[in-house]
């Protein structure tokens, strides 16, 4: 369906150039609305966590489990990757494909480091006997933090696919819109992490 649309628009490229731009703008708005619905998803998971965060059921507490150094590292890694994805967008508007793909690679590597740290953290926690079925607190914790990690992982696949497309097609209105959406998504994930860091980890060790 989307494929057919693009072909159709290419056929009328000359007289509909402005319409095409406008269409891409509309798709960015559509993506904003998706981001808002994703906010609501995280909102419900945060609400669940806030309600269950002290229900340890005799299991380990947040204070006993969380180790801040690794979390601080994750926080700065994700924050930096949010910044570098912005630099990729800047390079895109300067029509510098090489620089743009370069910053996207940096962003993806930082994102990968973040996911690796998170998987390690989860493996470490499970090793200590703190699994998803240990207590209501841990169920809420794994679902909330895991959902964020899954989003970052998904973003990584998206980023790699987009880099391949950029290499093949260069900067077109379509790839431009896709990179704009990806960077929006990436900033959004950083914002969610700020709240995870504050509510789950900082309040957990207090």
């Amino acid at each position: 369906m989307a494929q057919a649309m693009t072909h159709h628009e290419h056929g009328h490229a000359h007289d509909h150039d402005h319409g095409h731009e406008h269409h891409e703008q509309l798709k960015v708005l559509g993506f904003w609305i998706f981001v808002v619905t994703d906010c609501v998803l995280f909102g419900t998971l945060f609400a669940t966590y806030a309600v269950l965060m002290h229900n340890y059921a005799g299991g380990p507490t947040a204070k006993e489990l969380f180790e801040l150094p690794g979390i601080i590292a994750s926080t700065f890694i994700l924050l930096t990757s949010s910044f570098t994805s912005g630099l990729a967008v800047l390079a895109m508007h300067k029509r510098n494909v090489k620089q743009m793909i370069g910053w996207l690679i940096v962003t993806a590597l930082l994102g990968l480091a973040f996911v690796v740290l998170e998987v390690n953290e989860f493996a470490h926690l499970v090793g200590e006997g703190a699994t998803i079925s240990t207590s209501a607190f841990l169920s809420a914790f794994y679902v909330l933090v895991g959902t964020h990690g899954l989003h970052v992982t998904l973003g990584l696949f998206w980023m790699v696919a987009l880099m391949i497309q950029l290499k093949r097609r260069g900067i077109t209105p379509v790839t431009k819109r896709k990179v704009t959406n990806l960077s929006l998504y990436w900033h959004f994930l950083d914002v969610v992490w700020i709240f995870l860091f504050t509510v789950v980890y900082l309040m957990g060790v207090m």
Binding site: L29, V36, A50, G86, L87, L90, H93, V191, I194, T198
Partner: protein, 104 residues
Amino acid sequence: MSHHDNHVHSENHGSLKSYVIGFVLSIVLTIIPLVLVMNNVMSGGPLVITIMVMAVLQLFVQLFFFMHIREGEKPRYNVQALILGAVIVFTIVAGSMWIMTFNI
């Protein structure tokens, strides 16, 4: 018309300066709560409120300096959608926490 729009477009994505300012502000707003929590400067309610305020400030830093929410085409449907989302999230989170305080 088309020309004018294109001009607005090119102003749409901020500059290196705005990204750097946003990045530095985000780092500062991450370090402040971290120091407060690790050094036990405050405790209990005031500390929770302070670090939540820092998190919300950082949300706005990202929205303005990274996501360029001010600079979109008018009318800004994205901002309207975002405000609706914020109302829903606030209702769900605050409502859940409030009603569960009765669960004793």
